[in-house]
């Protein structure tokens, strides 16, 4: 994991001093609310329906046990004892007191955390694959590049007042687990035939009210040019992105307007001026960034024997077997596995986590995974480096603490935004809908038979819950002051990214569990063998689903 040096600490200390002074001026009435707005947003502070909301960056999802314990302390001391993992791998507190925010940020800075640029019209936290560094299908570890981007984008003087927010995601694996096609910039780090490292660059993806899949603008960007190329993209966007209409201000609208080809040419032209400047990465810098993401002290283990033991344990314990199947995945090192702790037990807001749970995760990370954990954009937690021989013990503890719901990747592992319970932009609540659906599908074996199935819920068209890219997506809409839900089918955020199609007229909250049940029924009666929902949908189309759901009762 990246470790701050004196430079990083100094910069962050200066930032906190700056924000403390700004908050003071605001409270004294010397700074108008509309002037304070961009300043507080760039420190992670929203003003919400019930209270402020503070968003803390978890850079590319990497977090250590010390940081987890500090978050627990903050949840307990400054908030109501819990926080929330977001779809961009960050942590949100829902009830901080504005006057205490500078103190919270100072406490976080001590453990190398911050809310800098977690909101506002600037470059946000760079997200990545939660299995980076351990995935079996990884080509290049994306994290050193994420860290390079983090530093470059932090307090960037030219790009702090962009037309709109700007999100970057990086993946380094054959299968995309970072949703790079729906980011403002999506980067795939890979090796070319000559063995050189570089990036495939996508631009102009995004969700929100106008969902767009990103366009490929460069097939291979040599790694040393990463920052100058990003700088070129951002500069074009800063100068040409629309500022007259906030709903048309994202880079996706600009790319669409000028076409991806023209945009690529503009970037290329700008980049030609920049590429050989000082911003060009040096070998030493790339190596320095890499040096923080070396392998932990893995033991040399007999992978086969370890697996055989786990298989034995699984035979004797059905619960463990199920957990293994859904929540545990392979690892590039023999004898190790990556474990996902589920934050989606029925009855808890998806992604919510209490102060005590944070501490338990810290303990589990210390005991089983070299003191590190990762947040995922599906709103769960990963322990990436667990010895297979420890899996059983880990499972038992995780079960006691409430993280062992064996539902990762299934219908009940719902991605869900805070919605109307917290968010002032919401058209409808989303958390109760998630819970109602989880209750409808309370038979885990039934859920397993359905296989991988992503169900995503957003409380409004801002799409924080990624509803466009759920195999099933649910969107809260407002009809004459009443909460309704529109259903979309066929979305995906993987390599085959697609945006869901709207099924038809929306439904009331009470109808939702039954509607989802009907969709699943159609899937079951049409699927072949082990076919997944998304594949069945792509094969048979929307008509059979529509028919069933909108059939008139006779």
């Amino acid at each position: 994991m990246y470790i701050y040096d004196e430079y990083d600490h100094n910069i962050l200390r200066e930032r906190i001093a700056q924000f403390r002074a700004q908050t003071g001026r605001f409270l004294d009435g010397d700074l108008k609310p509309e002037e304070f707005l961009p300043l507080r947003l760039q420190n992670g502070l929203y003003v919400q329906r019930l209270a402020p909301m503070l968003r803390i960056n978890v850079p590319y999802g990497m977090i250590n046990s010390t940081q987890l314990r500090r978050l627990a302390h903050i949840a307990r001391h400054y908030d109501k004892g819990y926080c929330h993992v977001t779809t961009r791998q960050n942590i949100q507190f829902n009830w901080p007191d504005l006057t205490e925010v500078p103190d919270i940020l100072a406490e976080l800075a001590e453990v190398q955390m911050h809310g800098t640029q977690s909101s506002g019209n600037c470059i946000r936290n760079t997200t990545s694959d939660p299995f980076a560094g351990v995935a079996e299908d990884e080509q290049v570890d994306p994290r050193p590049y994420c860290e390079i981007i983090r530093q470059w984008s932090s307090f960037h003087p030219e790009f702090a007042f962009l037309p709109r927010k700007f999100k970057i995601a990086v993946t380094g694996s054959a299968s995309d687990r970072a949703a790079v096609h729906v980011h403002d910039i999506g980067l795939e780090v890979l090796k070319n035939e000559a063995g050189e490292t570089g990036f495939r660059v996508y631009v102009g993806g995004g969700l929100g009210r106008t969902p767009v899949i990103g366009s490929l603008i460069r097939e291979f960007l040599p790694e040393e040019h990463l920052l100058s190329y990003l700088e070129a993209i951002l500069r074009i966007y800063n100068q040409s992105g629309r500022r007259d209409n906030k709903y048309k201000a994202r880079i996706k609208i600009l790319v669409k307007a000028v076409t991806a080809e023209v945009f690529a040419a503009q970037v290329e032209q700008e980049w030609n001026h920049l590429k050989d400047g000082y911003t060009r990465l040096t070998r030493e810098e790339i190596e320095r960034a890499r040096s923080f993401f070396t392998s932990p002290d893995y033991q040399t283990l007999d992978g086969k024997a370890a697996q055989a033991d786990v298989d034995d344990q699984a035979l004797q314990n059905v619960g463990f077997a199920k957990w293994l199947r859904r929540n545990v995945r392979g690892h590039r090192i023999p004898g190790y596995a990556a474990v996902t702790l589920s934050l989606k037990p029925t009855g808890v807001a998806p992604g919510d986590i209490t102060d005590t749970q944070l501490e338990r995760i810290a303990d589990l990370a210390d005991e089983f995974s070299f003191g590190e954990a990762r947040t995922t954009h599906e709103q769960n937690i990963v322990l990436a480096d667990v010895r297979k021989s420890d899996l059983f013990a880990l499972w038992q503890k995780a079960d006691t603490f409430g993280f062992a719901t064996a539902n990762i990747g299934t219908l009940t592992d719902i991605i869900c935004c805070p919605g109307g319970d917290f968010c002032s932009l919401a058209n409808a609540k989303s958390i109760p809908i998630a819970e109602a659906i989880q209750r409808q599908f309370d038979d885990l074996d039934y859920v397993y038979d359905l296989g991988d199935l992503n169900l995503n819920i957003s409380g409004c068209m801002n799409a924080c819950g990624h509803h466009h890219v759920g195999h099933i997506g649910i969107l809260g809409v407002d009809k004459k002051g009443e909460e309704f839900y529109q259903v979309q089918l066929g979305g995906s955020s993987s390599n085959d990214t697609s945006l869901g199609d709207v099924l038809g007229p929306s439904f009331s909250a009470a109808d939702m569990p039954v509607v989802i049940q009907k969709l699943i029924d159609v899937f079951i009666s049409n699927r072949t063998d082990e076919e997944l929902f998304i594949d069945t949908y792509r094969r048979i189309g929307a008509a059979p689903f529509k028919e069933r759901v909108y059939a008139k009762a006779h």
Binding site: I11, E35, W152, E158, T279
Partner: protein
């Protein structure tokens, strides 16, 4: 005389700002003395204005540095207008004027920007700040000029990114 911040100190403002003309830029009268003219007026009257050494040019936020281009080199002053502090186009304009078009004179921010933006503006090459829109204490504003003393990225004030200085 109204004041502004220049090179880190509060100094009298010797320049007059000429608004964008309603009508034809070519027939806009440019008074004597130190005047900052709109880009359109500069372009329309370049031949004559070039004869003077007391003409500056201001760029609106939608006007790119390249529209002034190499002309910048011969000017004592270029101003970048911020119609609203949320409009960050001027940050790019400033950098380009300095880094691509070799402008070495006074680079002035004008319009509605915040003292909280001073440090970033300075980093982008702006060395003078005239708050034409908001009432602001320049003494207080000075404090924000150096909110940061260390930076990750290259910019005008520090062309070497931290990674080239760190080792």
């Amino acid at each position: 005389m109204p004041k502004l911040i220049k090179d880190g100190v509060i100094t009298p403002n010797e320049w007059t700002l000429l608004e964008k003309p309603e009508g034809d830029a070519a027939s806009q009268e440019v008074p004597a003395g130190k005047v900052i003219v709109p880009l359109t007026v500069w372009q329309a009257q370049k031949e004559t204005l070039q004869q003077r050494n007391d003409i500056g040019v201001w760029l609106d936020s939608g006007e790119l540095a390249s529209e002034l281009g190499d002309d910048a080199k011969s000017l004592p002053l270029v101003a970048v207008h911020f119609p609203l502090f949320m409009d960050g186009r001027g940050f790019s304009t400033a950098r380009l004027l300095r880094e691509r078009f070799g402008f070495t004179g006074e680079l002035r921010a004008i319009g509605y920007f915040l003292r909280d933006q001073l440090c970033y503006l300075r980093r982008c090459g702006v060395n003078a700040f005239e708050f034409t829109h908001n009432e602001i204490s320049l003494e207080d504003a000075l404090e924000s000029l150096n909110d940061f003393t260390e930076y990750y990225q290259a910019s005008v004030d520090q062309p070497l990114p931290l990674f080239r200085r760190r080792h």
